[in-house]
Symmetry: D2
Subunit: 439 residues, 4 copies
C-alpha cells in the first residue's frame, strides 16, 4: 500500500530484545510459534480507532494538542475518508491484525438520523474497499450512545422513551454495519447507563429497560444473521457517578437476572477493573470461571489516580497475569486484545502513536511467553492442586458430591479434632512468578 | 432490674431537641407514633455485642484501652456471665429492643469443639434467663468463622475440607442457638471467604463450596424449624484482600447463580457499602429493587480512610437517605438497625458507650422523621414520576409491554426526530432535601 | 439594569426556611446582622466565571449540553461582550457581591500574544463599564496557564524556557488587568505545574523555576502598585498525574523553602482537599494555624469519586465546619467564598444555574449561623481548652516555655508514675455538633 | 553460631537466576562488585524485629496464627532473650547486615518506667553479647510511642503534659540504647502523632510541642555524643485518622518551619508513600532533591487496599525506580533498606519468613542492577538533559541566573512568538525501562 500520510515510518519488524531501535518489536514476533499457534493468532491485537484516530489530546483542563495531517480536509466526509486511509496505513506499519470502532468514530453525525446513517454507509463502503486488500479485520464495532447530549441521562436507561427508541435505531444500524464488515464481535459499553444522583432515579425501571434493549439487540442480530459474539464491558464510575455495569460480578448478576447469560460474554478492560478496586487479573478470573471471558480492552490504569487514564500497557506483571488467565481460558476465541489506550496528551506526534503500540504489543508478547512458561513449569498449578486436594478424597469428595449435611459434618468435626494449619506460601509464589519474569 | 455494673447511669429518656443533657435522647422518642406505628417499631434498633461488650479498644498499632469492671473475673465462664449481665443492664438503660451476637462473643472457646459447644450452652441458658424478664430480644445471631487461625484461608471456602466440616458444625450449633433464643434473623458474614492472592486460589471451587454450605444451612434450619430470615452481609475487602461477597450486586448475582435467591436477603452495612465505592443509599436501593433488603448494619465509615472504621452513625444525610429507602421498602420486616459500630479507641469509658448509642439512635430517629416528611411532601417522588412518565404512555408504554423491536423503534426514531432534552435538576433536588433536613 | 438574557428570572429574595419557592433564599439573608456584621460581608460570595459562563456541559465522554442565548454571536468579541452582559444580569439577580475569572475566560485568544492582549483590553474596558453601575466587584482574577497546548508540560515549570517567558508575559498582563478592575486578590492555580512521569522530569529545576516565577510576580505587582492579596491554590492530582501544589501543607513547605511565606496566602478548595485525602476542614485548619488562610473555593466533591467534580456545595456539615474555621480565623479578610462549582452536565438550563447558586449561598448562610452558635454556645471550645489545660500549668507550662529537657522530664516521669487516661469524647462531640445543626 | 531454633535451615547462598532452590538467592550476591562497591554495601539490608520476631499473624478480625518455638518460655525476660537468640540465628542464615527495633520489641514493659528500663538494660546487654560475634549491626532503633494506652491521644502531641514527659523519658532511654549498641540511625515514626477528630483538637499546640520534643531529642543526643543520623518517617493515615507527618513534603515543610531541617533526614516507606497517593518513587525524589533522603523502609503496599499491608517487596518495577533514585542520591549513606514487612497471616511457618526475606533481598538486588544499567546506558538521563537544555543557554540561562523579570520576559515573548511544542515521549521511555528490566 502506498503511504500517503505515514510515509516516513517503515513497517515495524521484530528485532529481538537486544535491539536499541525504538521502531522495532523486541518481543512481539508475529509468526513465531508458541503453544501450538503463531503468536499473532494467540494475541489477536486490535487498534482502537477512537483513541488513535479521533483522540486529539484534550482533557477537562486543556484543549487539543494533536494535529494530524489527514485532518486538513474541510468536508467532513473527505476528512473521515482520509482518516481511515491513514489508519489503514498504520495497521500495515504495525502489522495490526484487527481494529475496533464506535459508529460515530468513523463517520460524522448528520442533522438527522437518516443523514447520519447515510454518512455511515459512505464510510463503511470506504472501509470495505480497504479491507479487500488489507490483512486487517474488524474485531468489533459498537455504537456511541454516550457523547451526544441526547444521551445525557442514558440511552437504553434514559428516562425518555424517545431516547430509548433513538438508541435502538442506532444500535440496529451498528449491528448492520458489523455484519457488513464481518465484525467478529459486537460490544456494549453503557457509557451513560448509570445515574448521577439517586434523588431523581428509578433504578428498577432503568435496569428492566436495559435488559429489554439487550434482548431486542439479540433478536435483531439473529434476524439479520449477524453471528458476532456479543460482549458487555463493565466500568464502575465515569462518566456517570455510578455505572450499572460496575464490574464483572455485577454484569454477570445482571445477565442472570434477565436471562441473558447465554447470549453475552464480557469485554474486560484493565483500567475499569482497577477503578472498581479489583485487579485486572481478578475480573478476568471472575469472567473465566463463569464461562464469559470474551475479549479484553488492553490498557493500563494508574492505581493512584481515580479516573480512567487509558494508558498503553507496559507493566509486564499485569499483562502476564492477564495472559495466564487467557491461556487457562483456552484463549480468547473470537475475542482479542484491543488497545483501548491513548497516548499521553503531550505525546502528540505520530511517532508516539507508533511507540505506544509497540510498547503494548511487546508487553503482551513478553507476557504470553512468561505465562506460558509459568504454566508449563507447573509450580504454581501444582501448588494450587495440592492445596485443594482434600476435596478429591474422603470427606471433601463427599462434600463436593453433595452427600454431606450439617449433621454428618458435625459428627465428622467432633471426631476429627482441630484441623491442621497449612501455609498459603504467598511470598514464595511471588518469588516463583519473578523467577519466570526475570529468567 | 438491679444494676450491678452501671448503677451510676440512669435510664435514658427522651427530652427533645432543646435538651442539653448529654444522657438524654433529643430525637428518639420510642413510643411516639409516626407513619402508623411507634418509632421503636419502625427502627428496631439492636446493640452489637461484639463491639460494645467484646471490643477492648485495640487496633493494629496499639493494645486495649478499655477495661470494664465486669471483666474482673478470672474464670472465663464467670466472666462471660458477668459481661452478659452488664449487657442486659445497658439494654435496659438505653431501652434497646434487640441485640445481636456471634457465637464466640458470648461464650469462650474451649479446647475442643465439644467443650466449646458446652460453654455456649451454659451461656445461652444464662441469656435465656435474662430474656424472661427483659424486653430486649435477639435480632440475629451468627457464627464467628474468621477469628480463629483454623479459618485463616476461609471457612466454607477453605482449601481444607476439614475446615469446611468444622465450620458446618459451628453454624449448625449457631442455628440451634438462634432457635433456642428466638432470633428473628441469622446472618452470614464471610469474614475470611475471599482470597489473599490469586496465585494460590481456586475461585470456582471455593464459590461452589460456599453455595453448598449455604444450601446445607437452609436445609438444617428447615429441619429444626428455625424460621429466622437468613441474611448475607456484603463487604468488599478486609480482612482478606478480596472478599467474595463484595457488594450487594455481587451477592445477588451469586445467589441467583446458585439458586439461593428465594432463601436469603441482605444485611447491608453502611461502612461496607462505602468501602466498595458505593453510597450506603446505593446498596440499599440495589437490595430493595431486587426484593432482598432484609436488615441493616447501622454504622458509618470515614470516606477518606480505606478501612472499616465502624463508627457510630451521626451523619444525618446518610441516615435520612437510608430511612427513605427503608420506608419505600415498606419497612425492614423482621430485620432491624444493628449498631455494628464501636466507640473510638480513646472513648474508653462506659459513658462513651452510652453517648455513642444515643448518637446512633437519635441520628436514625431524626432521619426517619425527615425521610417520612420528604415522602409525604412528595416533591422528590413527583419529580421522579414525571421524569419517567414517557414509559406510561405511547411508545414508552409499548416498549415496556414488550411490543417493540429494533425495526419498529427505528421507524419511530426516524419519524420522530431529535428527542427533547430535559434537565435532571440535581441541584434543585439537593436543595429540597436540605429544606426537609433543616426545616 | 434591563435584563436582556435573563428577563424571565426575577431577583432572588430571602423568604425564609418555610418557603417552597425554589427561586428564593431560605437561609441567606444578605443584610441580616450576625456576629457584628451583615451576612453578606462575612460570606463575600463570588461567582466563578469559567464554570457559570464558559462551562458548556462537556466531559471526557460527551460533548456540550449547554447552549446559552448569549452565545449566538459569531464574532468572538461580540460573543465575549454578550456573555459578560448576561453575567452582570445574573450577578444582579443573585445579589452576588463578587466574581472571579481567568484571563482567557473573558476574552478570546488571538493569533498572537499581542492580539490576545488587545482582545483582553477590549473586554476589560467592557467589564469596567458594567462595574460602574453594578454592585458586583472582582474578588480575584488569574491567568489560565493550563488549557493551551503550549502549556502541556507546565508553564512556570515547563522544560521550555520560551514557555516560561510566555507565561510570565501572560501573568504580567493578568496582574495589570487585576489592578485595572480593582481585584482584591490574585490567584495562582498551577494547573499543569506538576508531572506526568518521573522518567522525563527534573523536579528540582521545575520547583526552583516555579519559585523564581512567583518572586517575579510579586516584584511586578509591587512595581505597578497592585496591592491584591496573592493566593496559591493547592490541588493533588489532575490534570497532571502529580501536581506540585499537592495540598496546604505542601504549599506551605514550598513557600517557606523559597522565602515566599510572607507574600502568599492560600485559596483552599473543598474538592481539592478531599482529593488529597484530607477533609476540607483539615486543609482550612492547616492554613489557619500557619496564618495563611486567605480565601476559599467553595464547592463540594464526591468522596467516592476520584476526580474533581466541582459540585455546588449543599452538604451543611462540610460548610459548617468550614465556617467554624473561618470565624476562628477572624473572617476571610480580603478573601471570599468563590463558587468554583459547575452545574451537573444534565442541569443545562439557566434555571439550574440559579438553583445551584441559591443552593450554595443558602448552604453557607445556614452554616455560618450554625458555626457562630456553636462557638457562642461554647461546649466544643471549652472541651478543647480543658483537654489541653495541662500545658497552662505545672510541668506542661514549663515544657511550653522551653524550660525542660529530656533529663528533667525523665526525672518527672519516673516520680510521677503512669499518666491518667482521659476520654477524647468523640461521639459526644459529634452529638453536640448535630444538636446545633438540627436545633 | 550453633543454631538452637533454626537448625533445619541452612545458610542462604547465591545460586543465580537459574536455580530452582527456594532457599537460595537468585539475584542477591552479597560480595559481587557493582558500581565500585560490594552489593551488600550498596543495599545495607536490615531486618525489622517487630514484624519478624514480634508479629504473630493477628489482624483486626483474627487472632495470632504464628507460634514460634522460642516463645515457649514463661518468664518474659527469658522469652525476650530466646527470641533475640533466634533472631541472631536468622541474621546469620540470611547474611543480614543490619537489624532495627523499637524499644518495646526487644524487652517487656514492666509495671513502672523504672522497671521497664531495667528490663531493657538486661536485653540490651544480651544483644551486645550477640553483637560481639555476629556480623549484624544495628541500623536503627526507635521508641514505641503508639501501642500503650497512655499514648492513645499521641505522645509528643498528647493533650496531657504528663504523657509528653513520659515520652521524653522513653526516647531518652532509646537514644542511650542506640548509643550503647552503635546504632547508625535513630528513627521517629509518630504513630499516634495526629488526630481522630478536629472537634477535640488543638493542632497548633500539638505541632509546636512535636517540634519542642524533637529539639530536646537532638539536644540530648548531642549531650551524650550519640552521633546517629536522625530520621523522620512519614505516613498519611493509620492508626490515627490523620497523621501529622503525612508525607515527605509535609514533613519537610514542618522541619523548615521549626528550624529542624539540618538535624533530620527522612526514612521513606514504600507503603506509606502509596497510602498518601504518591508513588514510592515520588516520595524518594522529593526527599532527594531536598537533601534529606536518609533511609528506606523497604516494603510494598497493595494499591487497591486502603491500609498499610506491609508486604515484602517483590515488584521489581518499584524496587528499580527506588534504586534509580538511591543511586542518584549517591547511595543511602548511613541509612539502609529495612524490611518493614510482615509475612502474610497465613504464611505462619519459619520457612515463610525465610522465603519472604529472600524475595525482598532478591527484588532489590535485581533492581540495583537494572537501575545501574539504566543510568549507565544513559538514554533516560540524556533525554531529561536535552529536555531541559533551554535553561542552559539564552533566555533560559538568563532566567535561572536571576536576570529576567516580567517586563523583560514579556518583551521576549512578544517578539519570539508561539513556543514550539515538544513531545514528552512517555510511552517510549516506558519501553526503554522495560528493555532494561527484561534484557
Amino acid at each position: 500500500m502506498a503511504q500517503k500520510y505515514l510515509s516516513n515510518i517503515k513497517k515495524i519488524k521484530f528485532e529481538g530484545k537486544k535491539s536499541k531501535n525504538p521502531l522495532a518489536f523486541k518481543f512481539y514476533n508475529p509468526d513465531e510459534k508458541i503453544n501450538g499457534k503463531k503468536m499473532k493468532d494467540h494475541l489477536r491485537f486490535a487498534l482502537a480507532y477512537w483513541h488513535s484516530f479521533r483522540g486529539e489530546g484534550g482533557d477537562p483542563f486543556g484543549s487539543a494538542t494533536i494535529d494530524r495531517p489527514w485532518e486538513k480536509f474541510s468536508d467532513e466526509i473527505d476528512k473521515a475518508k482520509a482518516r481511515m486511509d491513514a489508519a489503514f496505513e498504520l495497521f500495515d506499519i504495525l502489522g495490526m491484525p484487527y481494529f475496533c470502532f464506535h459508529d460515530r468514530d468513523i463517520a460524522p453525525e448528520g442533522d438527522t438520523l437518516a443523514e447520519t446513517n447515510k454518512n455511515l454507509d459512505i464510510i463503511v463502503k470506504h472501509v470495505k474497499e480497504h479491507m479487500k486488500t488489507s490483512k486487517t479485520k474488524l474485531l468489533w464495532d459498537t455504537a456511541n450512545l454516550f457523547s451526544h447530549p441526547r444521551f445525557m441521562h442514558g440511552a437504553a436507561t434514559s428516562p425518555d422513551a424517545d431516547v430509548f427508541a433513538y438508541a435502538a435505531a442506532q444500535v440496529k444500524k451498528a449491528l448492520e454495519v458489523g455484519k457488513e464488515l464481518g465484525a467478529e464481535n459486537y460490544v456494549f459499553w453503557g457509557g451513560r447507563e448509570g445515574y448521577e444522583t439517586l434523588l431523581n432515579n428509578d433504578m428498577k425501571l432503568e435496569l428492566d429497560n436495559l435488559a429489554r434493549f439487550l434482548h431486542m439487540a439479540c433478536d435483531y442480530a439473529k434476524k439479520i444473521k449477524f453471528n458476532a459474539q456479543f460482549l458487555i464491558e463493565p466500568k464502575p464510575h465515569e462518566p456517570t457517578k455510578h455505572q450499572y455495569d460496575f464490574d464483572s460480578a455485577t454484569v454477570i448478576g445482571f445477565l442472570r437476572s434477565y436471562n441473558l447469560m447465554d447470549k453475552f460474554k464480557l469485554n474486560i478492560e484493565a483500567n475499569h477493573a482497577t477503578l472498581a478496586r479489583h485487579t485486572f487479573h481478578h475480573d478476568l478470573r471472575v469472567a473465566r470461571i463463569n464461562g464469559v471471558l470474551g475479549s479484553i480492552d488492553a490498557n493500563q490504569g494508574d492505581l493512584l489516580l481515580g479516573w480512567d487514564t487509558d494508558q498503553f500497557p507496559s507493566n509486564i506483571y499485569w499483562t502476564t497475569l492477564a495472559m495466564y488467565e487467557v491461556i487457562k481460558n483456552g484463549g480468547l476465541g473470537r475475542g482479542g486484545l484491543n488497545f483501548d489506550a491513548k497516548v499521553r496528551r503531550s505525546s502528540f506526534e505520530i511517532e508516539d502513536l507508533v511507540y505506544a503500540h509497540i510498547s503494548g504489543m511487546d508487553s503482551f508478547a513478553k507476557a504470553y511467553k512468561v505465562a506460558y512458561n509459568l504454566i508449563k513449569g507447573g509450580e504454581i498449578d501444582k501448588f494450587v492442586k495440592d492445596r485443594y486436594s482434600s476435596y478429591s478424597k474422603g470427606i471433601g469428595k463427599s462434600i463436593v458430591s453433595g452427600k454431606e449435611n450439617f449433621e454428618s459434618l458435625e459428627k465428622y468435626a467432633l471426631s476429627k479434632g482441630e484441623p491442621k494449619k497449612k501455609s498459603g506460601r504467598q511470598e514464595l509464589l511471588e518469588t516463583i512468578l519473578n523467577s519466570y519474569l526475570f529468567e
